[in-house]
């Protein structure tokens, strides 16, 4: 309080006549920069959506117009959904299956492991933690060939098992949950322990409900990571079109069409791939921002 008053006094005594003007210019500049950046980031999506409702020739001749000049059409969407090269409804199903199972896997397995590492004393705990943290250091791209190698050994290449199992738990989520569980007070568990609750019951009935904020972040990252994942499915199911996810299918269709790209189909495909994530983002916006901030700082 004292400092604030001092600041005011100080500023008043300086009596800088240009101050309000400089402030106004600053405000205008700040808004101008922010609006310019926001447009740069959002306009590409708006153009994409607008053009996905045009005919190919309209897209090629007037990409800059946000309205169709040759009539509104769903031809692009029809083309991709009924493609004979790849069964897109099946691909959409695969994408949801992959993303939901990955998310559920992370929610259960990552939080269980995080809880054990934070709260339960057992031999080998340090080693288990070191192993998990150690694998976090491995850059995903370095894993490309090793992952393929093990899937081949286990006969999981081009199977749903090969698609889903490798990402059903991850070290990052375990780490996140461990940090969260370390932050909640131990007396709650002690009270539950006195009541005679087992670790399992204690975890699922007492601890997990308290972990909803952390679990929300975990669920969002799990779903988003799997939905947008390209390299893991490329390695596990990259040569079996019936098991493709949406990013794989899009990359495949881009490759198939050669030099003359069928933009109506590719733009519609881009919109379809983005739509579920966009809906989830707008509904759970707050949690996305909080999640990034939380994990970003905690690293």
């Amino acid at each position: 309080m004292a400092t604030t008053t001092a600041t005011r006094v100080h500023l008043v005594t300086r009596r800088d006549p240009t101050r309000p003007l400089r402030h106004a210019i600053g405000v205008v500049l700040a808004y101008a920069v922010l609006i310019a950046f926001a447009l740069a980031l959002i306009l590409p999506f708006i153009f994409t959506v607008a053009n996905s409702f045009k005919t190919t020739s309209d897209i090629v001749s007037n990409p800059q117009l946000l309205y169709p000049t040759q009539g509104f059409t769903l031809a692009g969407y029809e083309k991709i959904l009924t493609s004979t090269q790849i069964n897109i409804p099946r691909v959409v199903f695969n994408s949801f299956l992959f993303a939901i199972l990955t998310m559920v896997g992370h929610l259960i397995f990552d939080s269980m492991a995080g809880y054990a590492l934070a709260r339960i004393g057992f031999p080998g705990r340090g080693l288990a933690f070191a192993t998990l943290v150690g694998t976090m250091m491995v850059p995903p791209i370095v894993l490309l060939i090793p992952r393929f190698l093990i899937l081949k050994q286990l006969n999981l290449v081009n199977t749903y098992g090969g698609l889903i199992l490798p990402t059903i738990a991850d070290a990052f989520g375990v780490f996140l949950m461990k940090q969260f569980f370390e932050s909640i007070p131990a007396d709650i568990e002690e009270a539950a322990a006195i009541d005679g609750a087992s670790r399992f019951r204690m975890f699922f009935v007492v601890i997990l409900p308290m972990a909803v904020p952390a679990l929300t972040a975990l669920a969002i990252f799990g779903f988003q990571g799997a939905w947008n994942n390209f390299t893991d499915p490329l390695i596990s199911v990259g040569s079996e079109k019936s098991l493709f996810t949406l990013p794989l299918a899009l990359a495949f269709l881009r490759g198939e069409t050669g030099d003359v790209l069928q933009w109506d189909m590719l733009l519609s495909g881009s919109v379809l791939t983005t739509l579920p994530m966009a809906v989830i983002f707008f509904v759970f916006q707050r949690f996305f921002i909080e999640g990034v901030t939380y994990t970003g700082i905690k690293g």
Binding site: H10, A113, I150, G269
Partner: protein, 362 residues
């Protein structure tokens, strides 16, 4: 269920057999610990830990990726020698990929860090209305699939695309503009810059034609190609939002009293920024640079969709190269060796960066 019964017994008759109870309680803790950690640990061991070790051995073989790995023959250090020491096409391509990747990293990491910091500082201004709108707008690209974003950029930057249209509109009164083929232009940015001063390969000094690891010095200093530059823009465009949020959180953690005290001492806005904001953001900046380095060294998806290493190999990154070795050229052993060299490179740059800038945040 069993534990419940035990708990009940314990509650009813605690003093009867304390030793046994204590022991089984411990055993139960152990069992709980093991079974809680087991699923995640097994997945990570089977799909990351073992594969990495296995692939390390495979990097000393001629495995094609097609036959069962056990049938591959040991070739000793041959893969690593082909990449690093024996002059030949493999080494030339590998060092070309190193060059492309390093230009990419050196361009993207500073750009995205500065843009993110700049945006965060503006969004953090107290007088600003609609802050959450801007936060949302800036973050949206980060939730989108890298494949979709590559597709959108492929479309925006194609020869008849929107980018050329708008540049054409702006350039029309200034004498017109010959549409740039952004995604099929192998010319390096530094080469293009030197050409403005009349320096080309034809009149470059002779020492610039010396061959170093398969490329002339002139080729080494090309800078990223125009196509690579477009992919760099794409990456900055995608990641700045996430990094901005990280900076924003750090900015909001700086105690307001610091600024008030500085204002009392007569520090102006710029001095406050130099002497309070920047030092307080140090750990966050290092964190952002570290994840930036690790991420950009792995650039792959965008190359896969947009250019597949073309034009003239100028977008062939190390990640693309190892994928190509293993899955297109049936040289998975060589690909594995490439992967481990990349692993070492990423580790090396991360350590250097940490040494240079001190500690990272906890």
């Amino acid at each position: 269920m069993a534990t419940n019964t035990l708990g009940a017994q314990q509650a009813v008759v605690p003093p009867v057999a304390p030793r046994q109870t204590v022991f089984s309680k411990t055993a139960q803790e152990w069992l709980a610990g093991f079974s809680f950690v087991a699923p995640a640990l097994i997945i990570v061991i089977v799909f990351i830990f073992i594969p990495i070790i296995y692939a390390f051995f495979i990097s000393f073989t001629n495995w094609t990726g097609l036959q069962p790995p056990a049938e591959a023959q040991n070739v000793g250090l041959a893969n690593y020698q082909a990449l690093l020491t024996n002059s030949g096409i493999v080494r030339t391509e590998f060092f070309r990929a190193v060059k492309n990747t390093v230009y990419y990293v050196l361009g993207v990491v500073p750009m995205q860090t500065i843009v993110a910091l700049f945006l965060a500082i503006i969004v953090n201004q107290k007088f600003l209305k609609g802050r959450s709108f801007f936060r949302t707008a800036f973050y949206f690209p980060s939730i989108t699939s890298s494949i979709v974003i590559s597709m959108i950029f492929l479309w925006l930057f194609n020869r008849n695309g929107i980018i050329n249209y708008f540049i054409g509109q702006i350039a029309a009164p200034l004498g017109g503009y010959k549409p740039e083929t952004w995604l099929n232009d192998p010319n390096g940015l530094i080469h293009n810059f030197l050409r403005l001063f009349g320096l080309t390969i034809n009149n470059a000094p002779d020492w610039m034609k010396t061959d170093v690891l398969g490329q002339s010095i002139w080729q080494w200093i090309s800078g990223p190609s125009v196509t690579m530059f477009t992919i760099m823009l794409l990456n900055v465009w995608t990641t700045s939002g996430t990094l901005m949020l990280i900076f924003l959180a750090a900015l909001q953690d700086i105690p307001g009293q610091l600024y008030e005290a500085a204002a009392v001492d007569g520090a102006n806005r710029w001095q406050q920024f130099r002497n309070i904001t920047l030092p307080m953001l140090r750990p966050t900046t290092f964190f952002v640079i570290t994840i930036g380095l690790i991420g950009t060294f792995q650039v792959f998806d965008q190359v896969y969709v947009i250019s597949k290493g073309q034009p003239a190999g100028t977008t062939a990154t190390i990640a693309w190269q190892l994928y190509r070795n293993a899955f297109r050229d049936s040289q998975a052993g060589l690909g594995a060796a490439t992967a481990f060299v990349l692993f070492v490179l990423i580790g090396f740059f991360t350590v250097i960066q940490r040494r240079l800038v001190g500690s990272s945040p906890k």
